[in-house]
Subunit: 232 residues, 2 copies
Amino acid sequence: MIEELQDYLAKEFDIHFSDPRLLAEAFTQASYVNEHPNQNLKFYERIEFLGDAVLELIVSEYIYKRYPELPQGRLTRLRAAMVCEDSFSKFAKECHFDQYIRLGHGEELAGARQRPGLLCDIFESFVGALYLDQGRPAVEKFVQRVIFPKLDMGWFDHAVDAKTSLQEFLQRDGDVLIEYHLLEESGTENNPAFHVDVAADGQVIADGQGSSKKQAEMQAAQRALKKLRAKK
Amino acid sequence: MIEELQDYLAKEFDIHFSDPRLLAEAFTQASYVNEHPNQNLKFYERIEFLGDAVLELIVSEYIYKRYPELPQGRLTRLRAAMVCEDSFSKFAKECHFDQYIRLGHGEELAGARQRPGLLCDIFESFVGALYLDQGRPAVEKFVQRVIFPKLDMGWFDHAVDAKTSLQEFLQRDGDVLIEYHLLEESGTENNPAFHVDVAADGQVIADGQGSSKKQAEMQAAQRALKKLRAKK
């Protein structure tokens, strides 16, 4: 399984481990080690401990530099959205890491291979192994492909509030007047519905709906961001 | 104040900032910025965000490599004891950073300069500024002087359990028989007192007291570690 993983990493990411034992350790769960007591195997947890800190720093530095005006509170929220089980487990799936984890039989039967907690751990331990084997530049190259593009794809917009993101996006190169207009208020008292649009310097970009004005505005801002980013 | 800080850092740590504005930012609290609205100042929070992640990685990597047998749970506890407000605020005091913080008047009067939370923040922001100005090697040099020696001084022993630390210390170079003996049990039922000693290969190293046998053994282990480390 580890040899297949090496081939896959070479083909897909141009990553070649000098010490494949690190890679094996990163993809081995304790349950597998317990089932193979004579093979003197190690499981991923220590490397995961390191990988977690590596990812934390690389992501922190990237968003610190990319958003020079973002205050600390929002940087922290954005980092928390990027460096978390939900994101990392998705990245692990996207990288097909789930296929290469070495699990014990019981864990396999219990469906551990698709458990977000495990997938997240394996993503971190892979990064830890890559860091130990090849240093930070190799991790940066990997992360630039797997994590950072998701920022532009809007994966983490919820963490920074779409209305503020839209404002920052539009006002990058100078002042722009952003207005939200209420187009329609309908529904019942217990089930209200709002329809708004958002305009930049008088030009409507997108509309949004929701059960509160704020929700409708957030949707409009998200849609506007999506349109503007697609144009870039 | 920042010029004095530069002189101090040069003299005490041989640290010379290329961009003193980073250093100024790292030592400036928001309250000071608010009181000097025309100076276009920045406060430390964004740099602190980065410094926090830098310290997390450097400490993680150090203990990962230094304790190759320590399982993840104990690595995590040790890191939490090292990378925390309590430790960082002490390091900041030890480095006399408290003297150079730029605070607003109100904060000064409220005693913020000695507040552990602020001292911790400033320690992190200093590291963030050093990292931005001179890269990781400069931070490592600083941390090797300010943080890592505390490991040998036993600052973080509580995080890893003194009995286990003693075992690791003594068994570094091979197997050693460690025994705890109960010397005396006294006190009352509601207020018991235990006195134990700890011996390595039959030779008593230290004794300890406590209101439970475990507490007494922990104290004996701590004292033994202290003695053995002092000998090294």
